[in-house]
């Protein structure tokens, strides 16, 4: 069995964090209310 070293675990944790952060930002964009635009008179 191949055991993960400390570097591997850190790299994996970083990968998970970036993926989660990506989901968080996408979710934020999807759920935030649309920006009101001023119509030209």
């Amino acid at each position: 069995m191949v055991k993960a070293g400390r570097d591997d675990r850190a790299a994996f944790a970083t990968l998970i964090h970036r993926a989660t952060l990506g989901v968080a930002h996408s979710l934020q964009e999807l759920t935030q209310p649309p920006v009101a635009t001023r119509s030209r008179a």
Partner: protein
């Protein structure tokens, strides 16, 4: 992306995967870093939202679809490779040979009947699909009857005899 070195630990912090020392360092840092505080709140909200979603079960074909896209591994153990290896142990080899002989005999006996009619290939494919959970670990090209499945099911029960030291 934040340039704060603590930011990349926030997901592990929320998942309670950090060692005690690092966890305490993150807690202290969160009290003074507004950027990490915002990110932590965003991640926490996301994890709650994702956690409330229903669990999606992968389709039965997903594993096969993923494996089919992987390059062939050099040490992949298929049915024939396993049998060749087993052949080197006398008792196992005998049992394996008997199993292969029965499979070949069964196929030979049914070949004319199945291949002469329409949909012969479909019947074999259907059997493979029906017993995919059993056959997944073997390289099986086709089955002609449920007897073949029974044989494959018992292959793993064949064990090599213990050899006594002289």
């Amino acid at each position: 992306m934040s340039s704060c070195p603590f930011e990349e630990h926030l997901t592990a912090y929320l998942d309670q995967q950090l060692p005690d020392l690092k966890r305490r360092q993150v807690e202290v840092h969160l009290a003074s870093c507004a950027s990490c505080g915002e990110t932590e709140a965003l991640l926490r909200k996301t994890l709650v939202a994702v956690g409330s979603l229903p669990v999606q079960e992968p389709s039965p074909n997903l594993k096969r679809a993923v494996i089919s896209q992987l390059p062939e591994a050099p040490d992949r153990v298929g049915l024939w490779a396993g049998l060749r290896r087993a052949w080197q142990a006398p008792a196992v080899g005998l049992a394996a040979a008997a199993a292969v002989a029965v499979v070949v005999t069964t196929r030979a006996g049914q070949a004319g009947r199945l291949e002469s009619g329409p949909g012969a290939g479909d019947a074999g494919s259907f059997l493979v699909a029906q017993h995919l959970d059993v056959l997944d670990d073997y390289e099986v090209l086709g089955l002609d009857s449920t007897d073949d499945v029974d044989l494959i099911l018992t292959l793993h029960e064949v064990e090599a005899p213990e050899v006594e030291a002289p």
